[in-house]
């Protein structure tokens, strides 16, 4: 603050910030004060849990943006398709051998040919690795019976997500290298529509219950895990309920977040991706394989989308509406800063909390629909690069 007072250029920003805080306190203060304490705590918990999934979705969008500068509008569609692929492998006990073989062949084929098919022919070792991988994956996918549903689901789902990411990159984004970035963004919109149609063709439009966080009820049917209930009536004036499905989804989101953060920070591929995102030409000039890095970025983003899809599907349902969850993550991405991994986490949680508290304080859905965008607008006016984004100055 003292810096702002010393620097006259920062004074308007400071005044605006203070004004926003004062208005928020005057306006929201009485509403918050009139709410029951247990409701305030409940909304806080639910907001964090919902926001965790938003963060994971936001991370996938950030990964693509960091690597290629493209804002991926197909992320919601990728989330939905990857979620349904997991569902299929998770719930089908007997995968036909020819299908598993072809599925493995296509996925591995696309993965080992990141540099192109000609390059593959020059590297026989890659072919050997590929053949071994195809055999191993086919074996895993055809493991029969419900006892192997987790391994089938995870392997099949991960393969599907990677295949999806690689295919989108190879056949829709790569041909547009050298074209204006806007063309790639438009292409992701087209991909989103194609994924929606494809999902309906393959899985139909009926919502599916994905029982990954489940328990067996007294009549022997597998159902979603029951909520945790805390008797806080004396302390907070009412009880608190925490949905275990959301809690697990939140926990796994954080684990996935941490894993990818470590990947970007400490692995050579992760570091190469960060370098590529800074400057593709410079990265190429120092020997980084930009094309491969872009392909990996898309595969990782698709994996993230898949994890988010499965966790969200497990907490609610799998249906074609889930692709629109990405729309809730867009403000999270911008709020946190479009190239910031930590920002995606904070942005997602902030949007989740904003939504829940707005639902508590304002009747109807106006708060839920508008509040995230109002918060986003205010933050962007005060910090155009987002909370943790990099400030870029283009000298002209």
């Amino acid at each position: 603050m003292t810096a702002a007072l010393r620097d006259p250029r920062k004074l308007p920003s400071l005044i605006a910030t203070v004004a926003v805080i004062v208005i928020a306190l005057v306006w929201l203060g009485p509403l918050i004060a009139s709410s029951a304490p247990n409701r305030l705590v409940q909304s806080g918990i639910t907001g964090l849990l919902v926001g965790g999934v938003y963060s994971l979705v936001a991370l996938g969008i950030v990964v693509i943006n960091k690597a290629s500068g493209v804002f991926n509008f197909a992320h919601g569609g990728m989330m939905m398709v990857a979620g349904f692929i997991f569902f299929s492998f998770f719930t089908t006990s007997n995968i036909a051998l020819p299908f598993a073989l072809i599925y493995s062949l296509v996925t591995v084929g696309l993965a080992v040919s990141i540099f192109g098919w000609r390059n593959l022919l020059r590297q026989p070792s890659l072919i050997v690795i590929g053949v071994v991988a195809v055999i191993a994956l086919t074996f895993v996918l055809t493991l029969p019976g419900p006892n192997y549903k987790w391994i089938r689901g995870i392997v099949g789902g991960a393969m599907g997500a990677a295949l999806l990411g690689l295919a989108v990159e190879r056949f829709t984004i790569r041909p547009l290298i050298g074209q204006p970035l806007f063309a790639s963004v438009m292409m992701t919109l087209a991909v989103s529509l194609i994924l929606n149609g494809t999902t309906q063709l393959i899985w139909g439009s009926q919502p599916q219950t994905l029982l990954i966080f489940s328990e067996v009820n007294p009549i022997g049917i597998e159902v979603k895990a029951s909520p945790l209930r805390f008797d806080t009536a004396e302390l907070l004036g009412g009880n608190i309920s925490v949905e275990r499905t959301r809690l697990y989804a939140f926990g796994l989101s954080l684990v996935a977040f941490l894993a990818f953060w470590l990947f970007f920070r400490y692995t050579s591929v992760g570091l190469a991706m960060r370098a590529t995102s800074e400057n593709q030409m410079l990265a190429q000039s120092v020997g980084l394989r930009v094309r491969m890095i872009l392909a990996i970025a898309w595969a990782i983003a698709a994996l993230l989308a898949g994890v988010a899809g499965v966790l969200h599907g497990g907490a609610t349902n799998l249906d074609t509406n889930m692709q629109y969850l990405a729309l809730r993550a867009f403000p999270a991405v911008l709020l946190g800063g479009i190239e910031s991994i930590g920002g995606a986490l904070i942005g997602g949680l902030a949007i989740g909390l904003t939504e829940e508290y707005s639902k508590l304080l304002f009747s109807g859905d106006i708060g839920e629909q508008l509040a995230p965008y109002i918060v986003l607008m205010v933050v962007l006016v005060l910090r155009p690069e987002g909370l943790f984004g990099q400030k870029r100055i283009d000298r002209i």
Binding site: A36, N217, P227
Partner: protein, 471 residues
């Protein structure tokens, strides 16, 4: 001799060509399907059921089975002589629930040559968007259920060209208030208050009107408040708790598929099962809700959607003593053998029944109109005139009467969603365990709807409607 042979041939030929026309005295149909007798042979003609709506967006859960129902019904009707010999077919377009797409699709359909004589729509929002256009173009529309603005205009007193084959959403909620006020089952008691929690949009808001709430007040049921959520919303615990805090003892939802299931699951998750009763629009009693509700079980050991009240304006799949339902079930089972992937348990829903109802209604409308003006001369205005005078019961499933300026049906009853008990005949409860069936690799309970009242006229709760309380 030759003359006799020639006459014989002539008689045979006449017989061959005239047979389909004469057959429309429903020779091929069961007796309970009573169409008006054909006065014109329409052999060689085709009647296209033209429809468009949200087949891939939020409403796809409901609309996809409609396509299957229409297709199965069309096949059945065509194999039994069609419409006075004319065949039926369907053509549709997916608007994904996008308003711009709705208008664009309508523009394309309405400018075809020849101009469509009749259209089918699904969504209240579509009806509201196209209300003025269809009137201008003189194309009547059948819709499954609608809102006051879509059917009667903003003033509620200007009947348009759109006709709903279910009661208005306002009237359905009025019916439910009657049920709560009369309390024939003795489960509600005094001082009930409805919290309205629905999807955002024309459909979700359709029953949340001043007229409805003043009517409900008049029968002893108050309004605790209204909350709305998007079909994409992950969590509605705040909205549910808001309504309960405001005194709601009943949560009524104007949503479908995931909507009622989410409300029910939230009530269970918040531990409010003993505090609130669930109710909803006719779509809330759909099979999709009964299946989705099984992801969350209540403390009574039954799915969260068990005991959900709702409107049931036409007969349900389980009422097999009703011949229309028996026929549809029989045809469904037959079709399921050849196309099992499109005839799943979720296809046995409301929209599939509506598909059959629509085909039978189309048949009757075209017979009556062709009889009156001749098939070649039929215009949209002629079809509208027929519909306005209609008093018909398609397959006996419900009563369609659009006379005296009505644009929706009025017969309604209240039913409750439950689950089939082990005995296969009764409804499961805490003492009577549910029947568990294995579908694919999943164990499921069988959702059923049980009618709690007879068909009665729903209150007319349009603005200025006959049953809206004074003042």
């Amino acid at each position: 001799m030759k003359k006799a042979q020639f006459l014989l041939m002539l008689v045979l030929l006449v017989g061959v060509f005239a047979a389909p026309a004469l057959a429309q005295d429903d020779a091929g149909f069961p007796d309970f399907i009573q169409h008006t007798e054909c006065e014109e042979d329409l052999t060689g003609q085709n009647i296209e059921i033209l429809h468009f709506g949200d087949l891939s967006g939020s409403y796809a859960f409901i609309t996809q089975p409609l396509l299957v129902g229409l297709e199965d019904a069309i096949n059945y009707y065509n194999s039994n002589g069609g419409v006075c010999g004319a065949t039926l077919s369907q053509r549709f377009d997916d608007t994904a629930g996008v308003p711009d797409q709705v208008v664009a699709t309508y523009d394309r359909f309405s400018t075809e040559d020849p101009k469509p004589q009749l259209l089918v729509l699904y969504a209240s929002g579509d009806a509201e968007a196209l209300r003025d256009r269809v009137a201008e173009d003189e194309i009547p529309v059948l819709i499954s259920a609608g809102s006051v603005p879509g059917l009667y205009g903003d003033d509620g007193a200007t009947p348009g060209w759109i006709f709903a084959t279910n009661p208005l959403y306002t009237d359905q909620l009025g019916s439910f208030c009657d049920f709560v006020g009369n309390d024939p089952m003795g489960v509600f008691g005094e001082g009930q208050s409805i919290g309205y929690i629905s999807w955002e949009g024309a459909f979700g808001r359709a029953a949340d009107t001043e007229e409805v709430w003043s009517y409900c007040e008049s029968v002893g049921v108050s309004h605790a408040g209204s909350e709305f959520f998007l079909p994409t919303t992950q969590d509605i615990s705040a909205q549910v708790q808001n309504l309960v805090d405001a005194g709601a003892t009943i949560l009524y939802t104007n949503s479908l598929a995931t909507g009622p299931a989410l409300v029910a699951a939230t009530v269970v998750n918040l531990g409010l099962e003993d505090q609130v009763v669930l109710a909803g629009v006719n779509w809330a009693l759909d099979t999709s809700v009964g299946l989705l509700g099984q992801a969350t079980f209540g403390s009574d050991g039954l799915p969260s959607t068990d005991g959900l009240f709702g409107s049931a304006p036409f007969y349900w799949w389980t009422e097999t003593d009703q011949p229309g339902i028996a026929l549809i079930r029989e045809q469904f089972d037959a079709a399921a053998e050849t196309a099992p992937e499109s005839h799943t348990p979720t296809t046995q829903n409301i929209a599939y029944l509506l598909g059959w109802q629509t085909v039978d209604l189309y048949t009757e409308i075209y017979i009556q109109t062709a009889n009156r003006v001749g098939f070649e001369n039929i215009t949209g205005a002629d079809i509208k005139e027929t519909i306005e005078g209609l008093d018909y019961s398609p397959l006996g499933l419900t009563t369609i009467n659009f006379q005296e300026g009505r644009r929706s049906t009025s017969a309604n009853r209240i039913a409750m969603m439950g689950y089939l008990a082990e005995d296969g005949a009764s409804m499961a409860d805490a003492e009577n365990p549910p029947m568990v069936v294995t579908v694919g690799e999943r164990q499921l309970l069988v959702p059923i709807n049980v009618a709690l009242t007879d068909f009665v006229d729903a209150p007319d709760l349009r603005p200025g409607g006959a049953d809206v309380p004074e003042g």
